[in-house]
Structures are given as C-alpha cells and as structure tokens.
C-alpha cells in the first residue's frame, strides 16, 4: 500500500514537472519564443485590428487615390481623409487593411482544417493502435492507400463540390490531411498501451473507450502539439496555392494567397502589392515552423540536436 501511494506521488510530481520543464526549455529557446510572440501578435492584429476605428475598410475603393505610396495620407473625392500605412492598390484600397482581412481568412482556414485533421487523426490513430491486430493492419493499409492519392489533384476535385463555400472546402481538406497525424498517434499509443498505468486502468474494469479517451490520448499530447503546429502552416500554404490557382477565395474577398496572386499580376508596376503580403505570409509560416521545431526540442529533449 505504501509503495503504491509512493509510486503514485512520483508520477503526479513527474507529470506536472514535465509540462513545466518543457515550458522552461522553450523559454530558453529565444527563436521559438520570438516566433510565439510574433504569431500571437499577427493573430491578434488580424482578428481585432479591423474593428479599430481609423483602419480603412478594405473593400472601399477610391478611384482617385490609386497606387498611393506607403505612409501617405490623402483626402478622397468624397472628402474622406484616408491614411495609407502601406499604400493603396490599383483601386485605391488600403493594402494594410486588406492584408489584415486576408489574414483572418488564411488563419481561420488554417485553424479550421487543422482542428478537423487533428480530431480524425488522433481518434483514428488511437483506436488503430490500441485495438491492434487485424483491425490495426486494415486501418493502416487504408492510410497507405490514401497516401498514394495525388493530394493536390484530389483537393482540386473537392473544390468542384464546394466552389462557393471556402469553409466546407477546408473542413474537407482537414478530412484528407489527417494521415500523418494518425500514424504519429498510433505509434505513441502502441508504445504506451503496454505500460502499467493502462494495465491498472484495465484491471479496474474501465471500458476500452474510457481507456482510449481518458488515459491514452492525453499522454500523446506532446507529439500531437508539435505536429499540429506544423499542420497549420501546411494548410495555410494549401489555401494560398488554391487561391493562387483561382480556386479558393473569390474577389472581392481576400486571403493572403489571393493578395499574393493579385500582387504577382501587377508586380512590374507596383511591387509592394506582392511584397507586403508575401512578407507577412512568409514570416507567419516561418514562425509557426520554428515554433514547431522549438516545441519538439522542448517536449522531447532526447530528440534535440545532440
């Protein structure tokens, strides 16, 4: 009895310090922390700044204020005073607020598809790994086959179903993106399921469902967080590619992808239209990737460089 409670105490202490250790390690990684703060700043700006008064409406055109320089302010023909932080485009729309609005779509779509892929991948992988045997083999064979699908092509076919509904399209993209996540979770679960705490749970008579959802999945959190951080930029890239090919966001709505597309078309006359959205898009992806790497090092110190 004494030894059991002692061991229990041990695990509780270890459990809480694992997360704190990881946080401390992450805090020491300056690049990862800078990435984290930058990403938070971008999210806050994209989702809240458009509601701040003084930021011009991204869809209001000013035919008389085309291709303004950055940091210029002007009075439109309607007598409205407009300040262009990053200049204006060929229709006199404010580039800065268009980038913020585009960011909302890009980020939201990234989060949405990632959430869907996270849910499917974690449940699929956990069930497959925990039950094992024939079911596991069959489920993993399905994953193998789906891996061989030309992904981009399937996504383009999917756009024909949801041409006008970006959100549904990305729910579906999430439903195609879960393969790697399920493999990661399955591997984790297989290595976890023979450990004593699962045996204890089983001997206490818990149902399989409860063991999977309450005992196994919470223990796979580390690798899942890391992979989630890497899925968000992957999905955002995909959205940008689709918008670039003219299959994603339709004008006058904007995403970072469609802004870059517009910019690329007018690069010769107005390079800012390409450069500003490309910089913010690239930096955001850069930060998410660095954050993912940093989290991997922090959560699994063994895997970090030497």
């Amino acid at each position: 009895m004494i030894s059991t409670s002692h061991r229990q105490g041990d695990t509780i202490e270890k459990g809480s310090s694992l997360g704190r250790d990881a946080w401390l390690r992450l805090k020491k990684n300056h690049v990862a922390m800078a990435s984290l703060w930058f990403f938070i700043a971008v999210v806050v700006m994209c989702f809240f700044l458009p509601f701040v008064p003084g930021i011009p409406n991204p869809n209001i055109t000013h035919p008389d204020l085309q291709s303004m320089k950055p940091f210029s302010s002007a009075t439109s023909i309607e007598g409205e005073e407009v300040f262009y932080f990053l200049g204006s485009d060929h229709l006199g729309r404010d580039i800065f607020s268009r980038i913020l609005h585009g960011g909302r779509v890009s980020l939201a779509v990234g989060f949405l598809a990632t959430a869907v892929s996270l849910t499917i991948g974690v449940v699929y992988g956990a069930v497959s790994g925990f039950i094992g045997g024939r079911l596991d083999a069959a489920m993993m064979r399905i994953v193998d086959i789906l891996y061989a699908l030309p992904f981009m092509i399937i996504v383009i076919i999917l756009t024909t179903y949801f041409g006008n509904n970006l959100w549904l399209l990305f729910v579906c993209i999430g439903a195609v993106e879960w393969l790697t996540m399920s493999r990661i979770v399955r591997g984790q679960v297989i290595s976890l399921k023979n450990q004593e705490f699962v045996e204890a749970a089983r001997s206490l008579g818990l149902s399989q469902r409860r063991i999977i959802f309450r005992h196994l999945i919470p223990n796979t959190v580390g690798p899942v967080i890391v992979y989630t951080t890497l899925t968000v930029p992957a999905v955002m890239r995909l959205e940008a590619i689709l918008s670039f090919l003219g299959l994603g966001v339709q004008p006058p709505d904007a995403s970072w992808g469609s802004l870059i597309k517009e910019g690329a078309d007018r690069m010769a006359s107005d390079p800012g239209l390409l450069i500003y959205p490309a910089i913010i898009f690239g930096l955001t992806l850069f930060c998410l990737n660095f954050l993912g790497d940093g989290l991997r090092d922090a959560l699994d110190p063994k895997s970090s460089k030497d």
């Binding site: 061989a148 940008a240 090919l245 850069f286 030497d306």
Partner: protein
C-alpha cells in the same frame, strides 16, 4: 534471395490494389460532384443535354458506367475529352504530361543536387554558425511558397538580367526557371531531412568506433554514415514527386507552360469526367511506380526494412 522476391511481389500487389482504389475513388468523386459537363453559360435546351448524355452513355446506371470505364482502361483507352472537342484524353495527356513530368523530374534532380550536400555539410558542422545559417535559409525556402519565388525569379533572372525567357515552352529556357523554382523549394525540405538523419547516424556507436580507429573524418562521413543517412531522403522521394506534380501546376500557371495543370483545373471546373479520371490515373501510376522503386531501393540500402 527468396525473401527479396517475395517482398517485391507483395509490394507490387499492394501497388496494383492501391491503384484500383484510387481509380474507383476519383471515378465516383468526379461523377457525384454537382453540375455536369454540358451545362453552359448559355441556356442549353433540356432535350439536347439529354441527347448528349445518352450519346456518351451518362444516362446508364453509374455502376454500369464504372464497369465499362474499367474495361476501357485495361485496353489503355482513356475516352474522349468532353471539354476539348475532337481530342481524346490520351491525346491531351500525351501533349501535356511530358511538360509536367519534365518539370517535376528536373525539379527533383535540382532539389537533390542542392539539398543533400547542404544537409550533409550542415550535419558535419552541427551547431555552428554555418549550420544555423544554412538551416535558417532552408526554413525560409520552405516558408516562401513557390508562387512567391516563381514571380520573383521571373522578374530578376529573366526580365532584369535577361538570362532566361519568361514564358513559352518551345525552344525556350522558361522551363528551367520553373524547374529551378520547384527545385529550390524541395531542396530546403531535403536539406533539413538529410541533416536530421545524418545527425541520427553520426551519434551511433559504429561511427564512434570508426573515429576511434583513426578513420579520416571525411571518410567516416561519406563511407560510413552516408548510406544510413540517405535512407529517409530516398523514402521521401515518393511523396516529394507527388508534391512536385501539384507544385508544377502553380509553376505552369506562372510561367505559362503548357503542362497538364491548366488542362486539369479546367477539366475539374467543367466536369470533363474522362479527362479528370485520366489525369488522376496517369499521376497515380507515376506516384505508385515511384513509391515502388523507392521501396525496392530502400530494401537494398537497408535490409532491415523488409522485415518491417
């Protein structure tokens, strides 16, 4: 030996089964999409559409059509293209596929030629300023998508410096710009992958033994560590090629190259059923052949994979 033959045969069987699944999935995915190939901006009379559907056999039950389609596919006939009047799907693909394929393969070769040496070099100089700089550049390469790199390369290398033509495929160097764009992007991935797996191998005991024996460090790197370190890169070639084909759609759009990308996007939006199915089948065969070759090469590089 028997072992190897059995492994190859079973992988081959799996590939054929996977191909059948992919063909089935795309057939029903394309056919169940709303809309149809004969709808136009102009109002087409109902009875004309019915007649067209009848001509192409679209009025029969879907399962029957599926059976007929598989039967035709076995003989290598991909059917008529509904969007390109007078052309068969075989002709459209024969025209566009070589362009996309050349782009993808050249991109892959460029990616390997840049990515592998950079990865090995960074691993050899691990945790130094050189390593961090190279890996930061690689990360930038991953984050700047092809559709940003492509117009920039076009602007600077082609328009400003005049080294390349900006567009058109025939007798021109624009395709090299496209391949370079794709190659740069994937070289960043390959560099990171190579560095990581080389570091894994370099921390193993047999490397320490080799160093202890007094083998020259360069020889340890290339003779002892390289074979193990390159295995994950070989495994990545299959998915990379699949990604390169998708990526080539973007590059084709930017540089105006007549590959399959534009045809396919048009086919998907206009419900050109046979062209959709044909393109997917060709790409799926390519990806599966590539994956199959990769598995065989991997089994040869690392005999332990066979037992897994």
């Amino acid at each position: 030996m028997m072992d190897t033959v059995r492994y190859i045969l079973s992988r081959f069987g799996q590939s054929v089964f996977a191909l059948l699944c992919i063909i089935t999935i795309t057939f029903f995915l394309a056919r169940l999409a709303p809309g149809g190939p004969f709808l136009d901006d102009k109002a087409v009379p109902e009875h004309l559409i019915e007649q067209m559907n009848k001509n192409y056999g679209f009025d029969r039950p879907l399962v029957v059509q599926y059976g007929l389609y598989l039967g035709r596919l076995v003989t290598g006939d991909l059917g008529p293209s509904l969007g390109n009047k007078g052309f068969t799907v075989n002709e459209v693909i024969a025209e566009g596929f070589p362009v996309s394929f050349m782009l993808g393969i050249s991109g892959l070769i460029i990616a390997l030629m840049i990515g592998v040496p950079v990865g090995v070099f960074a691993a050899a100089k691990r945790n130094t300023a050189v390593d961090y700089t190279l890996m930061t550049i690689a990360m930038l390469g991953i984050c700047l998508p092809t559709f940003v790199i492509a117009p920039l390369l076009g602007e600077f290398l082609a328009l400003r410096l005049g080294w390349f033509d900006v567009a058109m495929w025939e007798n021109s160097s624009a395709w090299f710009l496209g391949a370079l764009t794709l190659g740069l992007y994937y070289s960043a991935y390959i560099a990171r992958l190579t560095r990581g797996s080389m570091l894994d191998v370099l921390s193993q005991d047999f490397i320490r033994t080799a160093h202890a024996k007094g083998v020259a460090p360069v020889k340890v790197l290339f003779k002892h560590a390289f074979r193990g370190g390159i295995t994950p890169v070989v495994a990545y070639l299959g998915p990379a090629l699949a990604g390169l084909i998708g990526g080539s759609f973007v590059v084709e759009t930017v540089f105006g190259l007549p590959g399959l990308g534009q045809h396919f996007i048009k086919a998907a939006t206009n419900r050109d059923y046979w062209l959709i199915n044909g393109t997917v089948t060709v790409f799926a065969v390519l990806i599966l052949v590539m994956n199959f070759l990769v598995d065989v090469i991997q089994a040869w590089l690392d005999p332990r994979t066979k037992s897994k």
